[in-house]
Symmetry: C2
Subunit: 414 residues, 2 copies
Amino acid sequence: MEQFIKRLTSEQLEEMERQFAIYVNGTQEVIPALELKNKIAKSLILNTPLKVKLGLDPSAPDVHLGHTVVLNKLKQFQDNGHIIQLIIGDFTGKIGDPTGKSTARKQLTDEEVKHNAKTYFEQFGKVLDMEKVELNYNSSWLSELDLEKIIHLASSMTVARLLERNDFSERYATGKPISLHEFFYPLMQGYDSVILESDIELGGNDQHFNVLMGRHLQEHYGMEKQIVILMPLLEGLDGVEKMSKSKHNYIGIDEKPSEMFGKTMSLSDELMGKYFDLVTDLSLEDKLKIKNELKLGKLHPRDAKMLLGKTIVNMYHGAEAADHAEENFKTIFQKGAIPTDIPEHKWDGEKRIGIIELLVTLELLPSKGEARKMIENGGVKMNSEKINDIFTEVSIVDGMILQVGKRKMLKLKL
Amino acid sequence: MEQFIKRLTSEQLEEMERQFAIYVNGTQEVIPALELKNKIAKSLILNTPLKVKLGLDPSAPDVHLGHTVVLNKLKQFQDNGHIIQLIIGDFTGKIGDPTGKSTARKQLTDEEVKHNAKTYFEQFGKVLDMEKVELNYNSSWLSELDLEKIIHLASSMTVARLLERNDFSERYATGKPISLHEFFYPLMQGYDSVILESDIELGGNDQHFNVLMGRHLQEHYGMEKQIVILMPLLEGLDGVEKMSKSKHNYIGIDEKPSEMFGKTMSLSDELMGKYFDLVTDLSLEDKLKIKNELKLGKLHPRDAKMLLGKTIVNMYHGAEAADHAEENFKTIFQKGAIPTDIPEHKWDGEKRIGIIELLVTLELLPSKGEARKMIENGGVKMNSEKINDIFTEVSIVDGMILQVGKRKMLKLKL
């Protein structure tokens, strides 16, 4: 690739460095960083936007903050005029798992794929300007591939190299079968980059191998290689596991403002900086300022966390809802409506449980009948919100507060 | 598969056993033998011929007796009314080696593929009745495969299973790269059996893995599994290496009668039985009789070998040529035209060498000039045949006799 950096004016050079600093912030890895600078330089010199790719699994999406880590990064590119290429991996979705062994990869109908794509679209619209996003279905080119083309594609890759992928090498070493078709998925993902001539591909850190495949295949096809930007995986509310729906440690972007705010406040101080970097749309300067002030003790962690909560609520529900969520929180937790010395209870039961069973298990009420009566009378609150439905399913979150009547309170610890 | 054997009349049972004995004779392995009986039984009960498949590499064919081992086996099936399915692997041929590393797998044009197929056709016609042979080009179905079908195909096979193939496991263990596309070739060969619904597939013993793939894939596609018949590899004239053109230890089916006969006579006594089994069209009874008489000392090995030579010449040049070749050999070698006590010379030079260089190296003539003159004067014979061309390239064969003038003779030993 031509060295465009050398051709930049000093003004363009400054702009290049500005963009570079934004894109690199919060990433796990940029492969290779210097080439990213040159890509930005190219777009400035040629006055052409970069094409920034993100591949999406077409299985039912329920977007939470963990997903927004890449979306926020894409947003930064979009804000600077670059093109976002979203790819719905519908081809894989329609095939499912031909061995029928994986329930995770069940076969989807055209209907389901379309429905899921629409859901993505709606939810991503909360972060990205979807009008400017290029949406692609990879079946449109993958279903056109014939055996000859596939053999050429496959010839670019060695078996040993594919077996180096962590999960494959583990399975091979322990004698767990790897079906040959599984070797195709990384190749297909890489081939998407060939077709779309992507300049940059984003992925979670667990996508390391697959995302690099695009670089490899573009080279094989004699093209300019894409830059790979790997984003760190976001720990969930428990501070340990990757945020995911199945772990019940997530903040969904469709959740109510008070839930969002409350859950954010339950984060550990240690994780706060990472959340500022990865899930907020604050400017790079603001992020650095906050982290710096926290370090110097100028900003109290609790206040920083409130700012984080407010920022997140603002992103998904607007400024008014953010203010309201903050006020609400302050009223309840800080102005004494709830005492600060609530008894704690270490929870090691199911992470998802019916409210009645929860109240009885915690001995907040003596029987299921009593529990039902209390809920119906409006005497049960969770994180200061009244529970009206006796069939409410509760997701246990660290720091969650249960209140029965006026005085009986319990804080759950995980 | 239904047990057809049980439904056979006693007459059919006898016929089934007759065919089975013929097909099994001389094979390396029949997988599984009992199912072969049932296949024959099925064809007798349903009065339907079996489909017997042989896949062919489309690279330039120059058929020698080593190739005829499978052809003779096919002939036995054809003689009993079964259908021979020849498959020209043109799809693979047209792709060549996409990595460009293998010269063995160079890319062939349509022209070349057609030319080679025609050559096969002509040469195979010396063994098989080509009018009754079903000729297939596998590009006609393989080029139709799309990615979805290929993924389904690939899902039937595990990476570990493919790596078990001898050459793959060796390369993987020693860190030599295996390109992913190489895993496709056995799958494609197997898929041919799915498309053609073959009942039986023949292959050389080195095709073990690939030929079994057809069985595996037919099962994957819910079909009746083919029987696999593996033929032993035929040692060449040296008695050690597999017969092949590059080893210069072959008898080509286009060779002159006297060459064929003479080369056959140079075979070791030990190999004779195998040659009777694998490269002649004698009946099973005749083969058994000859081997038995040899064992009992009723038949002299030299006479048996003459019978073998005559049989082979008869197959490719007809009865008259066979008689003539035998007569010729007897005249020269047995009636004293050539003394039996010819001096021997142990040869450890090049296996293929120009006649002039050979004569000088052996000190049969003092200089290249003398050698040229002697050839031009008709004074040089090889295995009793005059050499007329000073540029003749000689393939050194064990037992080969060189004669210069009337008396100077030398027998080469390897």
